[in-house]
Point group: C2
Chain length 257, copies 2
């Protein structure tokens, strides 16, 4: 059992461009900080870094809004081209809403990858392009796996990689980072719970390991965009084949909905 | 800005008994681990430790279930005396549910303190008493404030204290620790967001600082109950007058409900 865990933001991560080799960039940042990856390390990287490197930026001038997007745009005072991007990313719109105090309304969407978040995780901030929308990487798990393999080879170390995004949540204010892509990092860790009078498990404790990691990185990441990668060292975990979707609750089992 | 944060589980925390002096106990654990609290440290402590020290354990033999508790007990296959404790802790029952695969159903409740969680945070595990239920401390913020003042005095250091509990959440599997009591630790940290075309804030980024801290502690806490206190060092924060309720989203502003 690990009694101490350290989170270190990789210093000096440059602005990422389409086509950049993330493993080379992070290896360089680590080396400049006199850090080398070791067995058991987990690197946690913000989604926007992957999206930029993979060119997931859509100029709004190229987008023709559908009638549905025009309707939402009108209702919510949103750019219908951005709405169109949101709709293309979504499996469904869970809810849409414009409070009197809001300039622009919000769409709560189920992303085609299964995550539920505001605006299907489509982002307009922090990527330096006017009139463009950034969407999630096509396959966050595959992006994580590529980065993990490359870094594992460079450092000859068994590591894990987590991709995070920043989500609002029901009932509680503010945003936390959550895991949306995984390579080798377990989504949750099942612990033995209590047994009932017949010796059957009554309650299963299942910490959301990947989301704990993601949320923790918020403590060292600041939104100026210069610390999008955080190294976690000292964690107690075993490599496993996992996917970001492992952490999604099946609708029929979701008592909180 | 802090680029590195360390989480250290306090080793050797004993089983807590009604009336125990938590600050003396934690000071002893810190000293045995050659640790002293410093300005800027935050101590994050599990709810059950406070509940035990404050005697928040209710023998079920002393509880007479109301007709409402009997009805829920029948419906959900739950001990009606435990249901009665849950109802007494709750402002309202948000939803109750028994899936075919569950031995015992779940009540999603709004606690009188405003938190929404399973069974109004009433716990039957990890406190070594048969037929008893553990409830939250009466005033988690006051409990945190007492502990913070005592420890700050012992160590002559400006510190913060967070009380956590372990909650399930909508849409995503597993549990994470969340903050339910605060002393001097800001619930959220407001950062400047983007401006719209008229120079007005379009999006406000507001990391849920206290919940990030709480979730991070899950990475070093294991459920054997022996590491209920975690020291966080290296955080970037300013002491503020805060309450656990600061992190609750007002119902009318909750687009996720």
């Amino acid at each position: 059992m690990s009694l101490s865990v350290t989170l270190t933001a990789l210093p000096g991560v440059p602005d990422i461009q389409d086509g950049d080799n993330l493993s080379a960039i992070f290896a360089d940042c680590l080396s400049k900080a006199d850090l080398a990856l070791r067995d058991g390390d987990i690197l946690c990287v913000a989604q926007k870094v992957f999206s930029k490197a993979e060119g997931c930026i859509i100029p709004l001038a190229s987008v023709t809004p559908s009638p549905e997007a025009l309707r939402y745009g009108e209702e919510l005072n949103k750019d219908p081209r951005k709405v169109e991007v949101v709709l293309r990313e979504s499996a469904r719109v869970v809810r849409s809403f414009k409070r009197p105090d809001q300039n622009e309304g919000t769409m709560i969407c189920e992303h085609r990858l299964g995550f539920i978040s505001a605006n299907a995780a489509v982002d307009q901030s922090n990527f330096g392009e006017e009139d463009a929308a950034m969407v999630l990487p096509k396959d966050p798990d595959a992006s994580c796996a590529r980065l993990r393999r490359d870094l594992a080879e460079r450092f000859d170390a068994r590591i894990g990689v987590v991709m995070t995004d920043t989500f609002g949540r029901p009932w509680r204010l503010g945003q936390v980072n959550v895991a949306i892509g995984l390579s080798k990092v377990p989504a949750t860790i099942r612990e033995q719970g209590n047994l009932d009078a017949w010796g059957r498990p009554l309650e299963v404790t299942e910490p959301a390991f990947a989301d704990e990691i993601a949320a923790a990185t918020g403590l060292v990441v600041r939104k100026n965009g210069r610390t999008p990668a955080v190294l976690l060292r000292g964690l107690d975990w075993q490599p496993t084949d996992s996917r970001g979707a492992d952490i999604l609750r099946k609708k029929q089992e979701d008592m909180f909905r």
